[in-house]
Amino acid sequence: MKQTGAWILLESLQREGVELLFGYPGGAITDILDELPKRPELRHILVRHEQGAVHAADGYARASGKVGVCLVTSGPGATNTVTGLATANCDSIPLVVLTGQVPTKLIGNDAFQEVDIIGITRPCTKHNYIVEDVRTLARTIREAFHLARSGRPGPVLVDLPKDVIQDVTEFVWPEDISLRSYNPTYKPHMNQLRKTAEALDAASRPLLLVGGGVILSNASAALTELAHRLSIPVTATLMGLGGFPASDDLWFGMVGMHGSYAANTALNTTDLLLCVGARFDDRVTGKLSAFAPNAKIVHIDIDPTSIRKNVQVQIPVVGDCRLSLEGILGICDAKYADRDWKGRHAEWIADLKGWMQERPLTFHENGNIKPQQVIRTLNELTGGDAIVATDVGQHQMWTAQFYDFLTPRSLLTSGGLGTMGYGFPAAIGAQLAFPDRKVVVVAGDGSLQMNIQELATAVANRLPVKVVILNNRYLGMVRQFQELLYEHRYYATNMDAQPDFVKLAEAYGAEGFRVETADQLRPVLAKALASPATTFVDVRVEREENVYPFVPSGAALNEMLLV
């Protein structure tokens, strides 16, 4: 029996295991919308802006490990997904974004709501497709999901002209999928693993650097096992937080521009850096010529382009993080079973603990509400068990520094692209994936306003997302740059004119709380966390607090400004 393109699309999505579609309607996709009610297992979440749809799908994907899916219309619907696609592309998040398109015969004629979204999104997707014939639709959807979730994951866009969606053909589902031009390397080269094991045996000050790849490849258990068995101290990039429990004795915090003194000093001192699934972003390395100056570097990454892109490494390992770590541990077990790793590294770990005590992550209390204190209180009240989403700026760094991430997929944050407005919609996606977990957004007053319209989405779906606003009425991170690097010349960073966030929440049918004094902080946060409603907590924090440590852009990691 022949089926329409719309039918084939939805059947294909269900065969790929899709449960949720984040979407926004429009003329080019009405045939698909018309088909959706016939499939109640495919839930459509109506957002309030297409950017919100992509971030929500992204938050769903990060929290659950599944592919996030969006359905938007042509033209502006499609262009509004670009920031979300670029965000997911930078952080390697598996998404499939379906965009409507004008009928094939109108393409190129500047039709109403026509845009060349394939051209526009080529550099910010892993791959993209336009379906020009309904007979290739099922295969294209299959390929899109395969590409999104395999190898180094990423977003894939599929453009769907209206006539293709209306056209009919027999439905044929390709069970096997193989692309001659795409074969990611999962299994690492044995020789490289052996070299890594030998380097570990020869090292006296080894250090693990955990990146987002550890979380994406579900390598957290293997990594924790390796760290414990070989007694190796652990640090992480922003994307790697949660890949190793922050409660662990071997944990020394985040590295980089706002990394801990202990972690950055360890990078300067280590003689063997094991970088697992991180890509040496400039925010991580600081000045490249002074990065890990005493270290031999092992770099494990499934994407060969990450290796030697920024940092020269001595032992590259191309492969899946989990398989690589398990392989290294296997060799160490077989070859170096008699080594007293703990004894060997005791002095090195004592050094790190010394640095941690000497220069802990801290702040000066002065009776005002300190943003760091808000994160600490949140950490205590949630027991580190929440899914925490952030926007981008000072609050993001304080969350990374002061919240103890214990499990993978518990931090949702735009690490690579640094997208303000990401956190709230991402939290909506995560809450839909895990209706019974606590999902908390830590937002700045500036960045929250970039996607605040999604309040309606949260309320409409009765999602108990908690939004904690570290409200300093500034674009704080840029203000901090202006204070420290531009001699206090504040310009365009004062956000004094802002809505009453409590009233705004209430206007949408959500709950709003305000915290104005330090003694209100704990009880109000506790009350908000216990509420079954979508909740805003407007916390009036110290206005001109700075994030420390701070390595100015382009400086070496040992040139930290400290509290």
């Binding site: 394939i118 051209g119 080529r122 550099p123 892993k126 791959h127 336009i130 020009e132 590409l147 692309l179 001659r180 031009s181 795409y182 994407d303 060969p304 382009t305 290796i307 030697r308 892109k309």
Partner: protein, 163 residues
């Protein structure tokens, strides 16, 4: 900075050229010449790109090219036994007193005259990069009015050993 000829086999799908060109421009790599056409296999196109870079840049270019989903295989022909040929058309100023010299030069380099007018000639030349550069230098003194080059085509030589 060395000149490299890169050969790319890719799926012949709409937009595949811009995937490759966009990669070069987006990452700040140079393209000196580019050409593309069908290969011996249906649905597969063969592209040649000439680029410049140090070892580090060329390594990134090759890795990035092979990462493009539509690229089946990208190969750097530097240090490989490959044949390389490029074609060009030269429109030269050819006034009567110069014609003899021009025709002699054409003969020496085994070029062809493909069009003649009262004071201009179009000359077709084929050769590797160095040969074409030499021809250009020699014709410069007559005055080159127009130049079109294909960029090199390249192919690995077959193994000469018989098993």
């Amino acid at each position: 900075m060395k000149r490299h000829v890169i050969s790319i086999l890719m799926e012949n799908e709409p937009g595949v050229l811009s995937r490759v060109c966009g990669l070069f421009s987006g990452r700040g790599f140079n393209i000196e010449t580019i050409n593309a056409g069908p290969s011996n296999e249906e649905g597969v196109h063969h592209m040649n790109i000439t680029t410049f870079g140090d070892d580090y840049i060329i390594e990134q270019i090759m890795k990035q090219l092979n990462k493009v989903v539509s690229v089946i295989k990208a190969t750097d022909y530097e240090d490989s036994p490959a044949v390389e040929r490029e074609m060009m058309f030269l429109k030269v100023q050819a006034e009567a007193p110069d014609r003899g010299e021009i025709l002699r030069t054409v003969e020496v380099f085994r070029c062809k005259v493909v069009d003649v007018s009262p004071n201009e000639m179009i000359i077709e030349a084929t050769g590797n990069h160095e040969k074409l550069e030499a021809i250009l230098t020699l014709f410069q003194r007559f005055g080159i009015k127009e130049l079109a080059r294909t960029g090199p085509l390249a192919m690995l030589r077959s193994k000469k050993k018989v098993n």
